[in-house]
Symmetry: C3
């Protein structure tokens, strides 16, 4: 497969929050090197160092971007350590980030994924606390300006895998867990279903939740389980917070029984 060429768009996904100008200065570095880049914030509110949540979202959103988009992911508990830095091509997209598993579920989907270790191109600056600015942003800018990953470092044959707890299936019974509590309090689980699959029942914190197709299938304030727009089983409360209703959070068990 020919690696994709940049289309000029760079997405940013970090745990930097928005209180400090950290994301803004990464954008300054990118625009200084690649003035025509189009920048899209995915989120900067990943919980600090939550590599799994960042990996979960990255895997699900890249397919909505035009081929040749660059995705700059900086959730990097190992900044300043010997952990490697990566530039990759996979699934028609370009990826830049630390070698800590955050890119790995996205890479896993493409058997022809190309991964290189970023070996130079560090911004001349003091300190070792901000590789987002000094290492990853310059690499993303180079990809955006037309470089292929091989120009940024030597090809790797293996990289860190992410230890994802995957749902367990036994017959028609699937046990998964909440991976994301979203802004609305919806409980997004790691159970992925085919849209045609029938669901007999979903149980959360010992309570049965009716299966539906949209939030409006139940009355205001009532819970519903459904297949959400990310292909995951989700438990919601119509115009309310399922996290509050069920006293649930990331890691809460979700049990599902397939069938009519």
């Amino acid at each position: 497969m020919t690696p994709p060429r940049s289309n000029g768009t760079i997405s940013l996904l970090t745990d930097f929050g928005q209180r400090d100008p950290f994301v803004g200065v990464m954008k300054a570095v990118i625009l200084a090197a690649c003035p025509d880049a189009t920048l899209v914030d995915l989120t900067h509110e990943i919980e600090p160092q939550d590599v799994r949540a960042a990996a979960f979202w990255l895997e699900r959103v890249v397919g909505f971007f035009a081929p040749g988009s660059v995705h700059l992911v900086v959730v990097d508990p190992g900044v300043g350590s010997a952990r490697r830095a990566l530039a990759c091509a996979a699934g028609g997209q370009l990826l830049v980030g630390p070698d800590n598993g955050v890119l790995e579920p996205t890479l896993r989907k493409d058997p022809d994924a190309l991964v290189v270790e970023l070996t130079d191109h560090r911004l001349a600056s003091i300190g070792r606390t901000f590789d987002g600015r000094d290492l990853f942003a310059p690499a993303a800018a180079r990809l955006c300006a037309g470089a292929v990953p091989e120009e940024l470092g030597a090809t790797l044959q293996d990289w860190e895998r992410l230890d994802l707890r995957r749902p367990k299936q036994r017959g028609a019974s699937i046990t998964g867990a909440v991976v994301v509590v979203d802004h609305f309090g919806n409980l997004i689980s790691d159970i992925e279903l085919d849209p045609e699959q029938q669901v007999a029942r979903v149980t959360v914190q010992g309570q049965r939740v009716p299966w539906g197709r949209s939030y409006s299938d139940v009355a205001l304030g009532q819970p519903v389980a459904l297949l959400n727009s990310w292909g995951c089983v989700e438990v919601a409360v119509r115009q309310g917070s399922a996290a509050a209703y069920f006293a649930a959070n990331s890691g809460t068990r979700i049990e599902l029984l397939l069938g009519n």
Copy 2:
């Protein structure tokens, strides 16, 4: 009136928050269809499902955009239900959003407003929980790329009205309410005045508040009422929070007496 053609700018106004990549993925969908779009975030911190607050701000901000801007509004408690989806031209601007009243105060100002029901152009995807991504963003991208609303669906003659509680005037006395508590704790009311009108007094939570022209008309920590830059009566505390000072919030009554 000829409906305006897009100038390439799209504003986004939602209650999605910024914790999840929901806004980012809408932008991905827009840019995949319309790579040269210029995207402007109005806010994504509307309280979940607060259609009134979104409508209040939309009505006040559109006039600051160049004619032909597209405004994508997704505050959509009825997602997945039978509520209609709209694309509109009004006041020289283009609007996209659910038919739940959120666009209606803006439409009301233009007797020649054009409203169509979005009937197709849904993104091929699973789930019914994210019309922002699957229905509204593609429509905004089409308008941005040059389509007129009529190309997106059939013209409607009526649409949902927003049940706005408007201020009540009896002689020189006006009773309104706080509609927005802003980031600084300022109390923005629904009382709109002409800049030339004289105000004798303003009362909040039983306390008289002096009338002024700017925050700096009073000492630090003191309250002042004034006509703010949105044309609304606002109660503020200089370099402090009026919401805290008056223990006020959205819905708190504001009483105003016209005259010298």
Copy 3:
């Protein structure tokens, strides 16, 4: 020195928060006047009226932008008062903001800084509560579109200085203070060091903190002091919050002893 011409990029640094569409409407005003501007948010989460924090970050980030970038700074406790409004050229960058000291540390670094008082070009609008929209954004747009500061007003020879408490040095002993607690809980101090300087010890809240070069020099949950990527002494806890660990906040004293 010839003042720089705009490269088309405008950064925004405010205390407006993100709950209200205040930043979005400033962008609308800019884009209406200068449709090709590239907009970069530095942060809008400066604590309300915290001129010092805004000045601290502005001084440190401007150098990462390409020459000729415009920086629009609106932390403006004196809005509506007689405080002046400024447009400046300094260090190859263009600056717009209130004359309250927020631009001054950045101006101080360039002996050839050019400062003018914004005297006209106010947007025709009601109210005196939003100079960000009505005065500063139009000025930034004019600079972005190619105007030089002198076209926006009369040159000033002096302007408000910022009363910065600077660290005190006595022999090898330096006493500074935390100026920013960042999103991760890191304590960023006002002590700037040369990367070659040796540090014997750092003390915070009576506790000695080991000196290191990166967060990963200590075990998880342990504190470390280092020279961060802004050139400042910082106290951190590896994958934790130093603010919580030391019960520290903005203003907490940091003591440092130079030497081996």
